[in-house]
Symmetry: C2
Subunit: 213 residues, 2 copies
């Protein structure tokens, strides 16, 4: 028996799987599921192709594992809200946490984008289940805020999409942003500036006033 640890993961395994996942996230994000080759992932991870397949089993399993990792990051960000909360605080926290996800995991964000671009074949269940529920729950709260006059009567679902798209953009279209702004990369100050801009414009645009009023 040699006392195998419950999950039976050795240090080597953890290290290599990490390397593979990170390399694969970038390759899949750039080239999509079909366009990514196991060979390219292996090279990016600095391992022979057979070794990569030894760990992940197959290209498909690797891809699914990456999507799951990214979805768990999403979920970690999706905390619930109630009508009693302050609209300004909630909206601002929403924008800021979504932007943090984009900034800390740009490859993951792009992977998600590539998956949705091809019609989200691997994410139908998630989109039409968990995520849809979450959106509608939030939407209901937004509507109640509108009724109470705490914000303008805007379509809550379009508002959620607005926040998602405006933040997601800085990962998915990074190449465009860098090209147009003539930067090599976006630093923390840039992200700060964009986030403040989005909070300002979107809150004001919805008729939500910061609590300091």
């Amino acid at each position: 028996m040699t006392t195998p640890t419950p999950a039976d993961v050795t240090r080597t395994r953890v290290r290599n799987e990490q390397q593979i996942l990170d390399a694969a996230e970038d390759v899949f994000a750039r080239h999509g599921y079909r366009g990514a080759s196991v060979q390219a992932i292996a090279e990016a991870a600095g391992l022979p192709k057979s070794n990569v397949l030894y760990y992940v089993g197959s290209k498909r399993k690797l891809y699914v594992a990456l999507l799951e990792r990214m979805m768990s990051r999403w979920n970690a960000m999706l905390d619930d809200i109630s009508v009693e909360d302050d609209p300004a605080e909630v909206l601002e926290a929403f924008i800021r946490s979504k932007m943090t996800l984009t900034r800390t995991h740009p490859e993951g964000s792009r992977l998600f984008a590539a998956e949705v671009l091809q019609g989200a074949p691997f994410l139908q269940e998630y989109l039409r289940g968990e995520l849809r529920e979450w959106v509608h729950q939030r939407a209901r709260v937004f509507e109640q805020w509108s009724e109470r006059g705490l914000m303008d009567p805007v379509d809550p679902v379009w508002l959620i999409f607005l926040i998602w798209s405006a933040t997601q953009h800085y990962a998915d279209f990074e190449a465009q942003v860098l090209g147009i702004t003539d930067r090599e990369r976006l630093d923390d100050a840039d992200y700060q500036s964009v986030t403040d801009f989005l909070c300002q414009v979107i809150l004001k645009g919805c008729g939500v006033t910061s609590r300091r009023s």
Copy 2:
């Protein structure tokens, strides 16, 4: 000589090239440059692979032709503005024409997204040249409007990106939008509703008042 027409295009050629371009736009949009196969494009166009290659020469040439077609659509939308124009009118027209592009050419929009996702290797020149100039020219006008108190002092480049991302979203993330809203497709009324929402929120968010005031 048989009086060859200047551009030497026969009816057959026009018809087949059109079929091929349209089929290819969809396949490239879904799977990216690497992920798309000539075989898949040929099947979508209802032609044998060799026939496709007879017309387009190579996969790369086909891809470049598609990007050029999409960029010319972009350019057709990018009319210039002046400080004397009305901010509300200009911003609203900007949002509406960008949304029209998204609605009338969703596959082209996704093709563009896929290209940028992979780092925009074929679009560096365009992004860092023509498009950058256009953005900065607009940005300068926005700044002058801010100075004149016609709008809030927001970062004009982030504002342009906000409009691009919020509209682009409905093509690139169509699968997500459909999944969450439980629709089969977005009809004209949906697009109308989203566009009105975006105009309302973004104009108000920037402190721009519609001229009817």
